[in-house]
Symmetry: C2
Subunit: 169 residues, 2 copies
């Protein structure tokens, strides 16, 4: 490596950054977790996409649900649900039918293959939960911290906080 600048460039600059890098920091953490989870499914020999998790779990626990209900419950856009649905339906893990009482709605439910997939992955998910609980404890309760962040942002959004400090306020 050239000695031109190597000495002066920090090894993990994002750690030293404030506001505008907080999102990047969170993104990086989520990507690490996602990557590791993907590896675990691979080692377990099961084709599985992260985005299936919430939907499969909800359908397994609560039976048939609409796209909108799932989106609301998982706090994601309905579009994300629609996309995951396409992916799950093409592999026949879920099926969908139009609601008899409201034909705008589409009710999703597990197929027997979907149920089998959930049963198959249950032990892995249990282990992941255990591991996550340990990680959470070791990190000083990340989950509580994320809850607190959401609360803080609900009290006053980042936009409001910044605008308050600006001539644009």
């Amino acid at each position: 490596m050239s000695s031109r600048s190597a000495n002066s460039v920090p090894l993990d600059y994002s750690k030293s950054c404030g506001g505008a890098a907080l999102g990047a920091r969170l993104r990086r953490a989520s990507e690490v977790i996602d990557r590791q989870a993907t590896l675990i499914y691979q080692m377990f020999g099961t084709e599985f996409e992260q985005r299936w998790y919430g939907i499969l779990n909800l359908l397994h626990r609560f039976g048939g649900l609409t796209v909108g209900e799932i989106a609301a419950s998982l706090c994601i856009s309905h579009v994300a649900v629609v996309q995951a649905r396409a992916s799950l339906e093409s592999r026949q893990f879920i099926k969908s039918k139009t609601d008899i009482n409201d034909s705008r709605r589409r009710i999703l439910s597990l197929t027997s293959q979907g149920r089998a997939l959930v049963e198959h992955l249950m032990p892995i998910w249990q282990h992941m939960d255990d591991a996550a609980r340990a990680l959470n404890a070791e990190s000083g309760d990340l989950v509580a911290t994320l809850d607190a962040l959401e609360d803080a942002l609900a009290r006053q959004s980042l936009v409001d906080r910044v605008m308050k400090r600006t001539s644009l306020a």
Copy 2:
């Protein structure tokens, strides 16, 4: 809404989920922050992409750097840097030249327009830093918690933690 199932579906199911949802939880938080930051730049009337931030900051503080140096410093892939570079260069905020001593390398640096953009955004970034510091305090030191999470994962990865609990160990 039909009464079919509404009562039984939790409002924020991802909060009640453990391991496999931790990544989703982090992702959601990062998206909230990113979205708000995007709004702030919009209100400030400046076209700005999130992914420019780290690179512009590094180049502003440390002068010319290579793609690899930037990637290492920001803990992102070199591909992410290459893509951001294309975006920044097409708008003439940065320029690049091949390293004289090693023609595999490409040294990126700010143009005068790039420097002007950084100077223009400095006050906003300062406000965002202040706001982030406040959010960090209100959330119970999110940054420290993320540091601790990274440390915990470095001690033992999620993969190892799960495999240890599995017959695959």
